[in-house]
Each structure stands twice: as C-alpha cells, then as structure tokens.
C-alpha cells in the first residue's frame, strides 16, 4: 500500500490546496498563471509537481509560501494543518514560514547571504523563531550540517557561502530548511543547477529526511527523471492546470493524459525502450 492510501485511512493532509487561481492583471484583462489547482500532500509523502515553463508549477509553490509578487490576485484556499494560509496576516505568515513550512529554492548561491558565515545563516531560523542565542544556534547548525552530510561541520560553519561548492550550498539551504523541523518542505527545482552526481546525493538526502523525520515534501520540477526517483505521488501541470495526477508508478506505467504521454515521449533516456524486456 502506498503512503497515500495508508494516509487516506486516517488523518488529514499536511497541505491541502483547493481551487487555487492566480491572476496577473494586464491592461487587457488578466493572465491566469494558475487555473483552479487542487492538490494534497500527506504526512511523510513526497509529492512532485511537474510541468514545463509557464505551467504554473512555481506560482503554485509561491502561493503556498505567500511569496507571490504583490500584483498577483489569488483565490481559492490553502490549508497547512489547520491554518488557512491565504487568510493569515503577514506577521503570522512570517512566523509560519521557516517554522512549519520551509522553502528550498533552485539557486542556493543567490539565496544565501554572501556576507554571513554558514553557521550563523543555517542557525538563524532558531534565533528568529526559537529565541536561541547565535552561539547556541551555530552549535545546532553544526548538527544540522552533519545531518546533511557536510564533512567537518565544526570547521565549515566558519566558512562563507563562496567557500562552498554548489552541492554544499544546496545542502546548507536544506540544513537551514530543516532547522525548525517543519511539517512541509517546498523545494523548487533544488537540484536543477547541480551536476548529476551531486544531484543524486541531494535527492538521496531528501528521501533520507523524509524517512527519518516524516517530513512532507512538495517538489517542483521539470525533470521527469527526478520525479521517478524521488516522488510518491505526481501532479502534472500544463498551462496553469493539473492535467493528471497519480502514484509515480501509475503516471509512468500508464499515463492517461495526452500531455503526460507527450512529456514521457519527449524525455531522452539512457534506457531506450526497444531494449526493454
């Protein structure tokens, strides 16, 4: 039984999005970036949202984080646990973000503060949300970096981000995202900028975190391969809508939507199907 059918027997989803619509006003009407999206992420589940550019996958993620540009007009509902995210005040949202909900962006180098040592930066959520001293937060950062397999974390907390490789920076972002043991991690193409060998390590790390902490992960990507390796449940987005959803096995073995089929057929592979028996 997959996680989803187990979860459906009892309890409620970690994240529940219903009829989400995001419009960007233009002079002549509006551009609808997200068009009636509903999706769920269950506890301990890794859910993939896959789509090409312009599909609305990132806008869906940013809506959940309440990080959309100001001019975006949002409707629908987003619930994290019992909290209705779209109704929260900015102050309450700030409390939630980083605490119950964390974000791992694509470009770790740009997300990290270049003038702040890794240790302070990774520990900063603990200072802001848990009232730890910076000293205590840095020593906790050592543990967090160790948990994401950064070698010699006692020494590396003193480094600045530029002293970290791309893969290490992404690990530091993940460590920071884990600091407050969130219910949900939203990751937007977190491995797209990485070399494949490093990507494989980061994906393994995310699975490990899910297994260890039972954290739910909403994973945004354009890469079908990453979805196949990592996700339990998949939503396929196209032009602002979810065109298909299913378990990862079902989506890959028995795709029903024409767009999903086209995506699968377009994906170059090292394992050509004619050789598959």
């Amino acid at each position: 039984m997959d996680i989803r059918s187990r979860a459906l027997q009892d309890g409620r989803p970690t994240l529940s999005i219903r009829d989400l619509t995001v419009d960007f006003p233009k002079r002549d009407g509006a551009f609808r970036a997200v068009d009636g999206v509903s999706l769920d992420v269950w506890p301990g589940e890794i859910v993939g949202v896959i789509g090409e550019s312009g599909s609305g996958k990132t806008m869906t993620a940013l809506s959940t984080l309440r990080m959309l540009p100001k001019r975006a007009v949002v409707s629908g509902s987003i619930e994290l646990g019992q909290r209705r995210i779209l109704d929260l005040s900015p102050a309450d949202m700030r409390k939630l973000r980083g605490d119950r909900l964390s974000f791992i962006p694509q470009d770790a180098m740009r997300a990290l503060n270049p003038t702040m040592r890794i240790g302070r930066q990774v520990g900063e959520p603990l200072v802001l949300h848990r009232n730890l001293s910076f000293k205590a937060a840095v020593s906790r950062a050592v543990d967090l970096l160790r948990a994401v397999h950064v070698r010699e974390p006692e020494r590396r907390v003193e480094d600045y981000p530029h002293g970290f490789s791309g893969g290490m920076q992404q690990r530091a972002m993940i460590a920071m995202g884990l600091a407050l043991e969130p219910e949900l991690i939203i990751a937007d193409e977190p491995t797209t900028a990485l070399d494949v060998t490093v990507q494989a390590q980061v994906l393994k790390l995310l699975k490990e975190i899910r297994d260890r902490e039972a954290t739910s992960i909403l994973f945004i990507t354009h890469d079908l391969g990453v979805v196949a390796e990592l996700c339990d449940w998949v939503y396929v987005m196209y032009r602002g809508r979810i065109v298909e959803q299913g378990s990862v096995e079902r989506i890959f073995m028995d795709p029903r939507d024409d767009y999903t089929k086209m995506l699968l057929a377009s994906t170059p592979t090292l394992f050509p199907r004619e050789a598959a028996i």
């Binding site: 494949v196 979805v227 377009s266 994906t267 050509p272």
Partner: protein, 266 residues
Amino acid sequence: MSDTVIQIAGVTKSFLRGVNAVDDVTLSVARGETLGIVGESGSGKSTLLRMILRLIRPSAGSITLDGRDVWAASGRDLKQARRQMQAVFQDPASSFNPRQSIGAILAAPLEVHGIGDRASRARRIGETLERVGLPATTVSRYPHQLSGGQRQRVAIARAVIMRPAVVLADEPTSALDVSVQAQVLKLFREIKDELGLTSVFVSHNLAVIREVSDRVAVMRHGKLIEIGTAERVFTAPESDYTRALIDAVPDPFRRFRAPVELESGS
C-alpha cells in the same frame, strides 16, 4: 582508418593557478560522424570545443580540420576553415544581435563570405528557414519576438546556411523545455543526415548525448576518461567514473518501462 575530419592531438589548456582545464586530450572525429562529449561542470568539455572553434588557444597540442592546423591557419585558409566550421551555442539569445532582424542575422555569414547576390541570398535564407521549420515571415522578426525553441532553430539555420562540413554544438538544448528539446534534437539529427555533416555535440545530459551521438567521449577534470561507440559506452562502460555518471542520472525509464510510443508527439 576512416576519413578523419577533426584530429585533436595532445591538446592541453592551462589557465592560471596551474590547473589544466583540458589535459592532454587526443581524439578524432570521422566524416559524417557525431561525436558526443559528456562531462560534469569543470570537465573541460566546453573548453575543448572552444579550442576547436578557435575561440580559446590551446597551451599545447594540435587541432587539425581536414588535415590543416586550425590554429596555424591564416588569411584565406583561415577564412576557409571558418566557413567549413559552424557553431550552435546554449543560449541563442545571447549569440544574436538583439537589434538585428532574423533576416539580417542569417544574411551576415553569406555577406561576409561573399556568397551570392541579394536575391539569391534571400532565396537561400527562405529555404533554410523552411528547412528548420520556421515560417518565411520569420525574416522580419527580431530575436526577442521568438520563443527559445524558435531561436535555437534560427541558430541551427545560421549554422547550416553556410553549408559547412562541421557543426559544433555546445549544450544547444539545455535551456529548452523537454518537449521543445525533443523537436530541436530531431531537427538536428535530420539536418545532420541530410547534409552529411560531421559534428561535435557537447552536453552534460547523458541521455541527450546518447540520443544524438555515434561515438561518445567522457571527460572529467580536463582528461578524456573513455571514448567509444555510444552503445558501448552506455551499456558497457570501461571506466568506473562513466558507470557512476550513468548510475547518477535520474532516468524515468530505469525504473519504469512505460509502453509509450517513442515517436509520438515529437
């Protein structure tokens, strides 16, 4: 041995700090063949391609095109070499002049090499655009008015309009959506076969390399790790590094062998 078009012998590029971006690489590309070069960042794959293109000067070694040393050429020989060898880059937006129309962009190489008159050039531009699947009206468009896939089609048109013998491509589809990538790769293969082009195709994406290449070279830290037919390198890699690379690729069809028609939709 088969007819060698590109011969790279003992090529090294040292940058500052004593690191060799490319370290004593020897390989050759036969006529009509596509050699794929695959590697992670810092492997030296793009530096090697740029040295063939005469954009970066090797610190040691030689590169010949049809038996003539690319770096020793000058005057008429150099012009000839440049005409024979065209390039397609990752980001066509940054390799086009944003203020030139597509027509002007495609006419430029013909004008530089004094090919044809105005009317015959216009005809050739029209034919080439049609060949890469763009409407004739594209000539009056500007780069920013085209999608990424359309721009890459223009880049391919610009490369083949000279009827070159060799096309060098550096991550030409890496910035494209997969559905667009599939179309551009298909176009690349068709044109290559039609014109009998010899090509070198650089990418970090193993699956893309497998799809377009006859032979594959794997690079790491500037060194050539192994080279062989695509089939051999991907099914029976000799080096542990190649094996590790293949194992690291998140490939949906490793786990799932979906019964999808390969040719549909592309």
